[in-house]
Amino acid sequence: MKVAWRLSEWASRLLEPAEREAVLGDLTEAGRGPLLSFVEVFDLVLRRQAGHWKNWRPWVAAFGISVPTSFLFMGDSVALCAGFVKLAGDATGGNIAPGIMILALKALVLTGWSWTCGYLVGDVSGRTLWCSILAYGSPCLFCLSRFRIESLSRSSLLLFVFPLAVGIWHGLRGPRVGSRMAVCAASIITLLAVISEVCGPGGTGNACSWIGSLVLTCPAWFLAIASLAVTKESAKPETSLLEREQHESI
């Protein structure tokens, strides 16, 4: 019975704090028993989650951003690790400084991309974050289970995870990024991405790599444009309040 109450409490964490308080109080007052209470809380959680999916935001966050970028990030992470391993092998002969510079640039760009994607996912779909995390986690588990490069560790697939997690945290809890900073960050990420592509092994001829970079740079520009729009809208108090309300309702 204690387990059922614990489960109810746990399930109710997916509800808004005020609603959790009221629902758990109602169930205690009704005295329907722990198991039935758990079923009722779970039913409400399912109804609430289903309600969130009527909006476009969770769909975009989970299937428009998380799934495609997880594969691209894993590809870039492995390429980066492979680059470092190759460079370490070549360390005995010749000048390795340019190679280190390019790899450091690539690492910086990967950090920027994964942070902006995480920020966007956290900001766009805070209440359905569990699904976006699943959408990131499933491809990672799939690739981890099929990883067959002997010279590299499996963890080389997951270089992007830390900046992504920090980005999600900032998107959820952190202060909103100002328009100037967002435009500046998007410009810097784009510039660094272009430089790392031009100086990379394929140069300007590697179309797939360029397309991947373009896709991963999109979230940074989306953030920049969205923050510019918010700044513009905040000049009109009524509209910005409505916008904020709509944003908070998701």
Partner: protein
Amino acid sequence: MLGEFEYLLITAAASLADAAYGAAIRQEIEDATQKSCAIGAIYTTVDRLEAKGLLRTWMGEATPQRGGRAKRMVEVTPAGMKAAKEFYLAVERVSRDASWGPSGARRPV
């Protein structure tokens, strides 16, 4: 036009007046319909009606029999009362000549 459950909820809240909150509304609906009612259905419908401006809610006081947890109090707005009255009149009108309606009951079957 209100839905059937929305009408039940508004009517229960109006009957309970100052004592209208989740558990009490559910009890009122269950007593009236003789059917069980999920707390999830109550809260999602309350939210929908509040968004339509037919209800107003706020957090009330906590009581010991609720484990020290606060109630979400519900009040029917004038727009909610108007919508409930319209629904009731529509049901009354459409039921007039039905065999179970007020005039239908007098007709020989």
